[in-house]
Subunit: 149 residues, 2 copies
DNA sequence: CGTATTATCTCGCCGAGCGAGATATTCGAC
DNA sequence: GTCGAATATCTCGCTCGGCGAGATAATACG
């Protein structure tokens, strides 16, 4: 075994959390007749909407690692289920702006809201230095795993 | 917007980390002609091997959320690529014990080792109280997202 | 204007994973 | 012991998400 310090327990915890979050999404998906990709798309769309950014078909596909054909069928599914609307771009009419339906947003919050609430609660029971440690660790892991094609 | 405290930044960081780790796995997969599920299986197998537990076909499939047919084709792929061997169970000859090839383990470490190294490094720069805060946050999130079918 | 570029869509196809059922092995009741 | 139920895995046929190639439509640029 390469390492058996007390740090490894936290490394495995992080992996366990990512696995559990993935399974949580999968449960949300199957309870609503959606596919994992649809859920990821919904999250991406809600995120963009919160940041007041327009999300186009192309940007969404890139964010999810889909090619244009896959993106089209993803949007067909989401639109067919009534979760999003396709709207032609105003100034650039080639683009398709994807608008999330309000009920889909509510659906998403009903499933992920409690989780976020729990996270906020955990963090509010920390002092500033502890929060900074958590932020630093997550930020470091994000940088380490991010990056290049 | 439901909440805009400083806690939300960390919540989004956690989500970003899970997304990045997922993309990291996907890169590993495509660089090695594997599918995301194959990588998840490999991690599960390495984990079991580290804990000195036998991993059977059925347990693996359950852990990954596959049914028996999907599990069989997963093992066919992994065995065809030389990453695992099927060995009939000793006392219960219905079972198929899955053994990971040593080279597949090395391959996995070459990709995920640096990430683990970075995590250990980050954690070693923390004092005990900060590490405890990180552990507590991750543990809490795991519990909140875990749970029941 | 005409040509290159960009954004999306259509078509045909591949293959991961599912459901149903077959096969082989073990356990339990009598 | 032996016969039927339970268990572990595999086979077959199929569905459908996602890919590659190329069509279509709108924009940018010389």
């Amino acid at each position: 075994m390469r390492n058996q310090g007390p740090e490894m327990e936290i490394v495995h915890l992080l992996r366990a959390v990512t696995v559990e979050l993935g399974l949580h999404s999968a449960r949300f998906a199957s309870h609503n007749g959606m596919h994992p990709t649809d859920v990821r798309a919904l999250i991406e769309l809600m995120d963009a909407s919160r940041a007041d950014e327009e999300m186009t078909a192309g940007r969404l596909g890139t964010a999810l690692g889909l090619n244009s054909a896959g993106t089209t069928s993803l949007l067909d599914r989401l639109e067919g289920a009534g979760h999003v609307r396709r709207v032609r771009g105003r100034q650039d009419r080639r683009k398709v702006v994807v608008e999330v339906d309000e009920r889909a947003v509510e659906l998403g919050w009903s499933f992920f809201g409690p989780l976020i609430g729990k996270a906020v609660e955990l963090l509010q029971n920390c002092d500033e230095r502890e929060r900074e440690a958590i932020r630093g660790f997550l930020e470091g892991m994000r940088e380490a795993s991010a990056g290049g094609e």
